[in-house]
């Protein structure tokens, strides 16, 4: 049977594995956080996997991304080590940031992952810098900043869009529009009905895609990333998506319509949509996907087990990684 998809079988399996890894990672955190195992707070990316993975499938390590408070999915999609991430969220010495950063600050610069971020909109200027560096150093890397519908109203984001446009930077502004900023609807908080119009106002093209459809994201991202690599400048890419859980763990979500979460899980689950497409086309089988499911589950189990067993950072670590301590 012919393959109607823009990826070969290997690529499809890779995409599925990344999405499934994010899903299991987040579902597991949801349970373990509820049990009180995890310090602080976590914002889960479950439901939004197709967007992060659809974009990251096009990227290499020299392509830089700046993430958000909802960063686990971006990290996994960009290739950050899952076990080190889990250990970081548990605050352990073996974590990606030696336990000093936590969920909201996971970074791996060697993978081109410039950090999750506790400050909304903070990634946009940083990514202009990444794109500027690529331009000046003469490599074909791109810089991609992710931000939510809520953070799209930060001055830093708007200033960065203008800057990227006038400098013709290889920068991409990804709006992850899940309809809510905490409990506030995008309909209340964003004046324009269309992010494409906003992009036009800043002198760059804008594209809106269904972020629950991996293939829609993959294709649109491919085009805008190619454009950036070829020196044609920045683009805004809006992914309309679904947040399965609350804003953070512990959010009662009374702002949602009755039945909204159940309906989303049932009808707008990007993993189910992906599975249906590839199996119906006869390119992948349920058995192949189920095998990945089992491997991912085992990986997450192991990651949690190792994270729990790992040592906490020792007292001396308090004053390391600073150029001077008082």
């Amino acid at each position: 049977m012919s393959n109607p998809f823009p990826l070969e079988k290997d690529g499809l399996l890779d995409a599925y594995r990344r999405m499934k890894t994010i899903r299991e990672f987040e579902e597991r955190l949801h349970v373990d956080f509820g049990r009180g195992d995890i310090p602080g707070f976590v914002h889960l990316y479950a439901g939004e996997e197709a967007a992060g993975v659809g974009i990251m499938m096009h990227l290499q390590d020299h392509d830089r991304i700046a993430s958000t408070h909802r960063g686990h999915g971006h990290c996994i999609a960009k290739g950050v080590d899952v076990k080190a991430m889990m250990a970081e969220i548990y605050g352990k010495a073996t974590g990606s940031c030696a336990g000093k950063g936590g969920s909201m600050h996971i970074a791996d610069l060697s993978k081109g992952m410039m950090g999750a971020n506790g400050i909304l909109g903070a990634g946009a200027p940083l990514v202009c810098g990444a794109a500027l560096a690529a331009q000046k150093l003469g490599h074909d890397g791109v810089g991609i900043t992710f931000f939510g519908d809520g953070a799209s109203n930060q001055g830093t984001v708007l200033e960065s869009m203008n800057l990227a446009a006038i400098w013709n930077l290889p920068a991409i502004f990804v709006v992850e529009n899940n309809g809510y900023a905490e409990s506030t609807s995008v309909d209340y908080a964003v004046a324009s009905d269309s992010y494409v119009d906003r992009a036009t106002g800043f002198g760059m093209p804008g594209i809106t895609v269904d972020g629950t459809d991996f293939f829609a994201v993959y294709e649109a991202a491919g085009e805008v990333i190619k454009r950036a690599r070829e020196g044609a400048g920045p683009t805004l890419l809006e992914c309309k998506m679904i947040r399965f859980f609350g804003h953070f763990e512990g959010d009662a979500q009374t702002y949602r319509a009755p039945g909204e979460n159940e309906d989303n899980r049932k009808n707008r689950d990007c993993l189910k949509i992906f599975r249906a497409k590839v199996t119906e086309a006869g390119v992948l089988t349920d058995a192949e996907l189920d095998a990945i499911d089992a491997e991912v589950l085992a990986l997450i189990d192991e990651a949690v087990k190792e994270a729990k067993a790992a040592p906490l950072p020792g007292p001396a670590e308090l004053t390391t990684d600073v150029y001077v301590a008082y």
Binding site: P39, G40, F41, G91, K92, A93, C97, G99, K100, G101, G102, S103, M104, H105, N117, G118, I119, L120, G121, G150, A151, N153, Q154, G155, T156, Y180, A181, E182, S183, T184, S185, V186, D187, Y188, A189, V190, Q253, T254, Y255, R256, A257, P258, E260, L312, P313, G314, P315, E317, L318, T319, D321, V322, V324, A325, Y326
Partner: protein, 335 residues
Amino acid sequence: MARTLSMKDAINEAIDQEMARDKTVIMMGEDIVGGAGAAGEDDAWGGVLGVSKGLYHKHPKQMIDTPLSESAYVGAAIGAATCGLRPIAELMFIDFMGVCLDQIYNQAAKFRYMFGGKAETPVVIRAMCGAGFRAAAQHSQMLTPIFTHIPGLKVVCPSNAYDTKGLLIQAIRDNDPVIFLEHKNLYASECDVPEEPYAIPFGEANIAREGSDVTIVAYGLMVPNSLAAAETLKKEGIDCEVIDLRTLSPIDMDTVIESVEETGRLVCVDEANPRCSIATDVSATVARDAFKALKAPIEMVTAPHTPVPFSPSLEDLYIPSPDRIAEAVRKTMGA
């Protein structure tokens, strides 16, 4: 009549009573009501930790949810303050001040002086501060020294529910811009709080515990930590006086100096980073104005000169603990 109230509820009550008294009092911030434009419940959040829950139904015209645009809405609160309103802008976590600082320190703080005394800016900027919540480097800072450094701003950081209510009412009635910092690890702490409205004047420290051997100066979460240290030291025969500064600008140095003149020993406790902090400021002033009264070198107990670490094992070491405070007191006693 007094009853027990948490600091969180004391904040809610102060705003409620002031909004009822004066319709020019408005509050704006992110999700302070919650659910705006969404299909579900109104007043869905009442702030990220539920501090303003219920105020929307009592004062619907005075409670305004904002987009995630701190520079715009904090600035709008400041502008409105110069035009007849008395706005409270909630900046969820003080760590977010970076995105709106210009409106605070170049605008609000300077109007009165720069315009030759002609402007009044009755705005309150409320925010959570402090470590201990496992909230990591960008949601845990104690940035009191930054604001205290800026002329024109008043800076408040209460340690208990009673003071919080009185100081917040004072802040709302005050005609200068006030940075009102609420330690998130104190939100649940309870004490007796009168039901009726009352204002506590700024620039008056509270002697939280009387003692004759050593003066401990603190604010915010460091007050309960200092009181705990004082309890331990009592068993060792050391009698500590604990002074709660309550407001850092203006600061009540008279009470501190008077106390040091009695005790001859000073320990300054500050959750902020050690350089150019409230601790160094109080120490320097005492060294200048009460040098002759000192029987021992001044001690300072502060956070280290690092960002706030995430891991519980490190964050617990970051925050000045009762043990570290007690150790510093013993040092001033020559132990």
